[in-house]
Amino acid sequence: MTRERIVAKPRLLVPQTAGFVYCPGCHEPLVAKAIAEVLDELEMGDSAVGVFDIGCSSFLLGILDIDSVLGPHGRPPDMATAIKHIYPNNVVFTVQGDGGLLSIGADPLMGALARAEKITIIMINNAVYGTTGGQMAPTSLAGQKTTTTPGGRDVSKHGFPVHAAEMIATFKGTAYSVRCAVNNPYNYGQTRECLKTAFAKQMRGVGLSFVEVLSACPSNWHLSPADALRWIEEGLMLEFPLGEFKNVDKIE
């Protein structure tokens, strides 16, 4: 009887010998695991270059066993653009937070979208700045209490949550734009499929591909991991519905 490998620890994860950097209940390691599994499955581990941003996404530098780049805050789409132009046959992707992509990183995001760069941008949306201690992000919900909106986000003063996946879908050069989550096994599986599609669009040269992942941040939400899971469904998902906002195989 031959034995077939059906489940194992993903090969592209770096052993965490010095302890685990993430807070209890954080969803970012699940995103990392999904990326590792998908790259492995697509046999892209040898060609992948990950560009990570300042903030919690920089931890991926120590998690994913692939060639990796970390630079200034908000700039991964610029760095990924250059790397992709130099190595067009490599899969090049960024992982960034909502603040890193939509606030300080709006310039490189708009640039990459306008030029229709063949890169993949993965944004982890946890509705706050994580590493710095829970300040208001572009994605913070109306009324959400953060350290810089102690009375709750007042939309008349602070504006409204930014919908990245919907906005990115409006660009002609976008091949794929999707919002997913990792709050349960079904959604985790969907996220894997979304990542596969995103990387495939890039390698077929269709256009820019974007994956937004709703992600729990119990530490900065001041919730238990279990309550954070509930808030993803009862808070975040009401403002940020899951779904595909663009999926095309050809841009003319």
Binding site: V49, G62, G71, D107
Partner: protein
């Protein structure tokens, strides 16, 4: 013999980069350096190399970071306000020890300033410009030929030290058309770039590569202290080995002019006029603004020479000369307020410099 061409300094920069094997250029429009960006936009696609017109100078410098992380020779160019915008990433490039070349064709400031010539970025280029402890080699061409040759040197030095190298010209040097012989210069062998990212399948050891700008988070250095120690050693090595200047009749001069870029050519003309009038004037023309010839100037000061700084700013280079003479000499200055016209088209011209030489010689 290389090909002889009648080209602007800005175009000579581009030819220099091209023969040096630059593979990627990133640029955003800004006067007075557009000839550089347009040359790459026209020529690089034909050569199968990378050109990207960026969304901003932030885009340029961060694409340069990404390109440099792959180990290819890469470059951006800009002018003063754009160069200001780049500074955070220049600091990151220095920490990450990424070799790359940045060209700053200086224009007037502060702020938006005029789009014409000036030499007001001396502090910003020689002192780093961004945050933290680092230094970049700063090459300061004074002719189209030097624009071509020093750009080639810049790529070599960047690779040699794994450090950004700045080519600082100005609107006059950049837009001046002169005969240039474009010839590839051999500078010697360089270490390989085993550290660069390319996808881990391409690395012989099969191990992944990480390029980052913290220094001690992922094993490049064992601690912040050892990162700083290494940067300090690198700064000292560059200071010792890479000082370049031209000594023009300064050997026996009692008054030595110090200048770089377009004002160095003005100063040279003034020295010739002074010599014809029997005044022992000479010129120390910087080729590197950093490293700076502190020791050369200190020795000449100790032997009794006085100094006249000629620079198209309110006075930046003059402070380095002041440090170098250690109080042993008189220092005069012909600066931006001495331009021949009050408009932004005004220049420092040889007769003003000569008048100052005569005044200082009488004293």
């Amino acid at each position: 013999m290389g090909e002889r061409m009648f080209i602007e300094g800005n175009v000579a920069v581009a030819y220099g980069a091209s023969v040096a094997g630059c593979q990627a250029f990133f640029g955003y429009p800004i006067t007075p350096q557009n000839e550089i960006t347009e040359w790459f936009a026209r020529e690089f696609p034909k050569m199968g190399r990378v050109f990207v017109q960026t969304q901003s100078e932030l885009g340029s410098i961060n694409m340069l970071y990404g390109a440099a992380a792959t180990g290819v020779r890469a470059m951006t160019s800009s002018s003063s306000p754009g160069w200001s915008l780049m500074q955070e990433t220049v600091s990151d490039l220095a920490n990450a020890e990424l070799p790359c070349v940045i060209v700053n064709v200086q224009r007037g400031g502060p702020g938006g300033g005029p789009i014409r010539h000036a030499q007001q970025d001396y502090f910003q280029c020689t002192r780093g410009g961004g945050h933290g402890d680092y230094r970049n080699i700063v090459l300061v061409p004074a002719s189209s030929q030097e624009c071509c040759d020093l750009t080639q040197l810049a790529f070599y030095l960047a690779d040699k030290y794994r450090n950004p190298v700045i080519v600082m010209s100005d609107a006059i040097v950049g837009r001046l058309r002169e005969t240039v012989e474009v010839e590839k210069i051999e500078f010697g062998s360089l270490p390989g770039k085993d550290w660069a990212v390319s996808g881990k399948g391409k690395h012989r050891d099969g191990e992944r590569r990480v390029v980052e700008h913290s220094g001690d988070l992922f094993g490049r250095y064992s601690s912040y202290h050892s990162l700083l120690q290494s940067l300090d050693e690198k700064i000292k090595r560059m200071q010792e080995a890479e000082l370049r200047y031209e000594d023009y009749k300064a050997e026996d001069a009692s008054l030595i002019l110090v200048a770089y870029g377009y004002t160095a050519r003005v100063a040279k003309e003034a020295v010739n006029l002074a010599r014809s009038a029997g005044i022992k004037a000479g010129l120390l023309r910087l080729i590197t603004a950093w490293p700076f010839p502190y020791e050369v100037i200190r020795q000449k000061a100790c032997l009794g020479s006085n100094f006249l700084v000629v620079e198209d700013s309110l006075g930046q280079l003059v402070e380095d000369v002041r440090i170098a003479v250690e109080g042993n000499s008189d220092i005069g200055m012909v600066n931006i307020l001495d331009r021949h016209m009050l408009t932004d088209g005004g220049m420092i011209l040889p007769d003003r410099v000569l008048a100052k030489i005569e005044e200082m010689s009488r004293a």
